[in-house]
Symmetry: C2
Subunit: 361 residues, 2 copies
């Protein structure tokens, strides 16, 4: 089968690899229908935090179950599934508490612990604790406006569903961690796909004023479509001044979807007392000041997003009913063979997020 392999900075190749098989009774093998390239794939691509040569890339996918081990109860061959980016055992304290993205028995796809999703087939360990069964959700027949069966999914629905494997769930985690509530003013750092999904999530949770810190017109346009009421291109002190002008005394909720120290330091200054910073950007040189946050009662929550929990609790229903269209973060579609170009286009910001069409439903 075809698979996307890392060979160093800006060297991504599609190569032939053995088709994965069930190795343990808890495993599943999924035929990938759609995958995509993540902003976090850009870190190794740009030579920052490089992966070992030969790493299979990709941690976002949806597809059809091909084969399952004897212990797999969550799905059967032929079921349409979302494969969330974290591998999770489903049984530990983290999984039980709905933080399966920090499961100590799991790991992540497209990394040391898991094979890559930018492939024709994917080996899924701990399938019972990892997969989201879309066919089963549809079969209940209780979602108004949902397609009758996965065979009816069009390209737009597939794009929306694919975001639940990471980017939409991650934006939602930023909003949930920031404790967005109805009537809030929220500020969202990051206008990449996660930040844009953060805007959509703040809107879903009832924020009535949403400030997107965007400085790219294509991204600002999606932010507005997703619910942003204000676009602020300023950075650093100028950004703080502008947000204070807009909010008076600071935002009720702050979503940090970048991870850089520049963004995080600005985020620390723009919440009103008692605001929580929901952070989902991978931390790079972040410093959290213990004193400054204390006296203003500024909270910090977040981490790798429990996207499976969010899909099952709410987001799958929102997508299947057509209530939200997070798939609009994808601005170009590539074939699997074209994925080196998809990486190059993401790197050059020619696309917001690159969708990869691997197979038909």
């Amino acid at each position: 089968m075809k698979s996307t392999i890392f060979y160093g900075a800006r060297d991504i190749r599609v190569e032939d690899r053995p088709k994965p098989t069930v190795k343990n009774p808890g495993d599943a093998v999924v035929r990938v229908v759609r995958s995509c390239v993540c902003g976090s794939d850009m870190w190794p691509y740009r030579g920052i935090n490089p992966y070992p040569n030969g790493t299979q890339m990709g941690h976002e996918s949806i597809g059809v179950v091909e084969e399952v081990g004897a212990d797999v109860a969550i799905a059967k061959p032929g079921d349409f599934v979302i494969v969330p980016f974290p591998i999770s055992c489903g049984e530990c304290a983290a999984c039980r508490a709905g933080f399966e993205s920090s499961c100590p028995n799991g790991g992540y796809f497209g990394a040391a612990e898991g094979e890559g999703c930018q492939s024709e087939y994917l080996h899924v360990p701990h399938a019972n604790g990892t997969l989201v069964n879309v066919s089963e959700a549809l079969a209940k027949g209780d979602i108004p406006g949902a397609p009758a069966s996965p065979k009816d999914f069009d390209d737009d629905m597939l794009a929306d569903l694919l975001t639940l494997s990471d980017v939409m769930g991650t934006g939602f985690h930023a909003a949930v961690s920031a404790e967005v509530k109805p009537g809030d003013t929220a500020v969202v750092f990051g206008d990449g796909a996660v930040g844009l999904c953060g805007v959509l999530s703040a809107k879903l949770l009832g924020a009535t004023r949403i400030i997107s810190m965007s400085r790219h017109e294509d991204r600002a346009a999606v932010a507005r479509e997703f619910g942003a009421t204000d676009i602020v291109p300023e950075r650093d002190d100028a950004a703080v001044r502008r947000i204070m002008e807009l909010t008076g005394e600071g935002a009720d909720a702050v979503l940090e979807c970048v991870g850089s120290s520049q963004s995080f330091n600005t985020a620390l200054q723009v919440g009103r007392p008692g605001a929580v910073i929901g952070r989902v950007g991978l931390p790079h040189d972040q410093q959290i000041p213990a004193d400054a946050t204390f006296y203003r009662n500024i909270g910090i929550k977040g981490g790798p997003a429990p996207v499976r929990t969010y899909a099952r609790r709410r987001l799958l229903r929102e997508v299947l009913s057509g209530a939200i269209h997070p798939g609009h973060v994808f601005t170009k579609t590539y074939a699997l063979d074209e994925i080196p170009q998809a990486y190059a286009d993401m790197d050059a910001r020619r696309v917001i997020k690159a969708l990869v069409k691997v197979s038909e439903v």
Copy 2:
């Protein structure tokens, strides 16, 4: 009037000062009935973070309103009130959001912004945003088991009410910030009065297993009375090992009521993924690691406690009905003239918390 004045490390004197008067239309003057000595008073007393010489000490009190300015609507002369340790305007974003303890227009009693509560009378700026009117709450007549009037308060009830000016509200803030919910296992760092109130608060919020990190038998006894199911005297790595033995995979909620780097670093290691550390101990050399907390989805919330909000929402009712007895943190009562001895006894840990009887109701 008599007032407690700071003159340097281990030099606290009771001196005569002018009786305060209403200076602004929003002011009140309160005749102090009970005050007490706080663990945080020990920092300047021990020569750490010293105050300027001449500072009036004390930020915890209850009393009877003596005089009010023309704009004061919350209480009238003769009303029995709790004076929370923060001065708060009642109108800014922080106050509206229930974080009046971080009000930028206020400050704290017994510090640069406010006069000291360890006095016969107290000047209260921003009375409408600061005071809790106990007489008014009683007059509604809807609290089962409550005394008919403040004239009926006995010494025990006065002790319980006094804790709502700081220590019980602060312990409650640790538990609320740590997001304690029914059925949780909670671990509480600190066996001072705040930590003990943290135990009681975790119990109030439904925790079923509560680990108190106590190493003093008198304090452990109060912890047990307040709901602690386990006492762990170990520190550092040994403490982490012991908590992991008790909890399996870490506590659901972590209350940090010390503020030292030793305590905070241990607290960072004992929550299960997704746990939140509710921190109310004044930070001293705390370091918050951005990476380690991120991958385990460990949240950090807290700061100076909005004790007024908690008193009005819930705690005043719990105390007046006799449901809780946080006043058991007071293990000795002093006259105002004896307050130098109260400080010395707190410093030597001869008492858990020193109550000061200033006047009758």
